[in-house]
Symmetry: C2
Subunit: 230 residues, 2 copies
DNA sequence: CCAAAAGTGTTGAGAGTACACCCATGC
DNA sequence: GCATGGGTGTACTCTCAACACTTTTGG
C-alpha cells in the first residue's frame, strides 16, 4: 500500500465547531444562543456553530463563527474538547469541537445578534438545547471555572474600568456562590495585576468606589501558583 | 437550500487520534513511541495513532489504537485536545485529536510492542518526534500534572499493591521535583482513599514498607477539593 | 555499629475565613 | 440619622513545608 492509499482509504468526516459564548451583564453570567435555522431540530435553541473549512484550523473556524454572530474580532477563545458520539447529530455524522469565548456584551453588535435570531440567556435560565449542546455547555462552564481559579479573569468580560465589587460579582456569577467582599478585595489586590485609577464609580453606591483596570504591564501571573502541590 | 445540502456542501476531513501513552517503570515516567511505518517522515519517532472510522467515536478509535499497540483493553483515557493546523501533516489535511493514556507497563504485551517497532522512552530522554507531536506531548503532560493535582493517581500506573514510597516516586516523576517523604505520606493518607495491607515490601528497604492499595469503596474524592476558591 | 529507608512528631510561616468596625453619602 | 456599599483590620483556623527524631534491619 502506498502512503497515498493509506490516507485515501481513511474515511472523511464533517467537522464542526460549536462556540459557548459567555458574556456578563447586570451581575449575571450569560450565554449567547440562537434558534437553529435548519433541520434537524429547526427552531431549537442552539450554540453558535458552523462547519470547519478545508483550509481552516478549528480555531480559525471558531473565530469566523464568532465574528459572524457578534461582529467582534480577536475574541478570547479556548478549546474545550471534541464531541464525537456517532449519533450526536441525528442528520449526519458530525464531529464537533467546542470552544468557549469570553465577550464584552457592551461591545458586541446587537443588530447582528437580532438578525441571527439570537439572545443572551442568563446561565441559570438557559432553555433546553438541541443535540448534545447541554453537555457541551456543562464542560465549557467547568473550564471557565478552572480558568478563573488559575488566573484573574475579567479583562475579557468587564468594561475597561470596573470596581472591585463588579469584579467580585463576576466571580460570584462564575462560581455561583457568594464571596466575602473584604477577603476578595485583599486576595485580588495581592495578585498585583490591577491598578487603581483616580476615577470613582458612584452609580452603585453612595460613597462611590474606585475604578480599577488591568495593569498593561501585567507581570504574567506565574500560572502554576494555585495548582496545589500534593 | 435544503438541510441535506447544508451538510453536503460542507467539506469533509481526515480525522485521526494520537495517543500519548504514559507508563511508569524503574522510578521513571515513560512514553510509548514507535517508528512511523509510512511516509511522510517514515522511520521518525511518533505517537501511536490512527484514523477515526466513520462509525466510531474518537474515544473508540483511541481505544482501538491502544489495543493494537499494547494488547490492553479498558485503559484509562482522557481527551487532551484537537490539533488542526492545516499544515500539521505535510501529506494531507488531517485533524488529530490527542488522548493521553495511563498504562501499567507490567501488564502490557511486550511482543506486540516489539512488533510495532515501539519502545518505552523515559520522559526526559524522548527523542525528536514527527510533525507536531512534541507539542501534543507537552499538552498531555500538562494535563496529567493537572489530573494528578486534583486527585490521587496511581491506580492506573502502579501495581495492585504498592508502597507509599513507590507512590511518592511516581509523583516525583510526574512533577519532576522531589517531595518530602513525611509530608507526602501524611497528605496522601489524609485523603482516605488508600488502605494499608498486612503485607510488607522488603525489596526496597531493609526495614520493609507496608503495602497499600486503593480502597475499593473509595469515597470519590470530592474533586473540587483542591481547586482554589478565589 | 552504621547506613538507609520507614514512619511519627513538632514547629513556624502563610493563606483563608469569618467577622467587626469605620467611612462616605444619598435619601 | 440611617441604610448601604466601600474599605480596613483582626483573630482564629488550617495547611504546608522543613526538619528532627525514632524504628528496623541488612550488611
Amino acid at each position: 500500500m502506498t502512503y497515498q492509499q493509506h490516507y485515501t482509504n481513511a474515511s472523511r468526516h464533517y467537522l464542526a465547531v460549536d462556540c459557548v459564548i459567555f458574556g456578563y451583564e447586570n451581575y449575571e453570567l450569560k450565554l449567547l444562543l440562537h434558534k437553529r435555522p435548519i433541520e434537524p431540530q429547526i427552531g431549537g435553541w442552539s450554540l453558535m456553530g458552523g462547519f470547519c473549512g478545508s483550509d481552516e484550523s478549528l480555531e480559525t473556524a471558531a473565530n469566523r463563527v464568532l465574528h459572524q454572530s457578534t461582529g467582534l474580532k480577536d475574541i478570547y477563545l479556548e478549546q474545550v474538547q471534541a464531541f464525537s458520539d456517532p449519533d450526536r447529530d441525528p442528520a449526519a455524522r458530525v464531529v464537533s469541537v467546542a470552544f468557549f469565548a469570553l465577550i464584552r456584551i457592551d461591545k458586541h453588535d446587537p443588530a447582528l445578534v437580532d438578525e441571527m435570531g439570537a439572545r443572551w440567556w442568563p446561565m441559570d435560565e438557559v432553555p433546553g438545547l438541541v443535540f448534545d449542546h447541554p453537555r457541551i455547555v456543562e464542560k465549557a462552564k467547568e473550564r471557565l471555572q478552572m480558568k478563573a481559579s488559575l488566573e484573574l479573569v475579567g479583562k475579557e468580560l468587564l468594561p475597561d474600568q470596573f470596581t472591585l465589587t463588579q469584579l467580585r460579582r463576576l466571580y460570584e456569577a462564575i462560581y455561583q456562590r457568594e464571596l466575602d467582599p473584604g477577603n476578595f478585595r485583599k486576595k485580588v489586590l495581592g495578585l498585583n495585576v490591577l491598578e487603581r485609577l483616580n476615577t470613582k464609580n458612584t452609580e452603585e453606591s453612595k460613597k462611590g468606589a474606585f475604578n480599577y483596570h488591568f495593569r498593561p504591564d501585567a507581570d504574567e501571573m506565574n500560572g502554576q501558583e494555585r495548582i496545589i502541590k500534593i
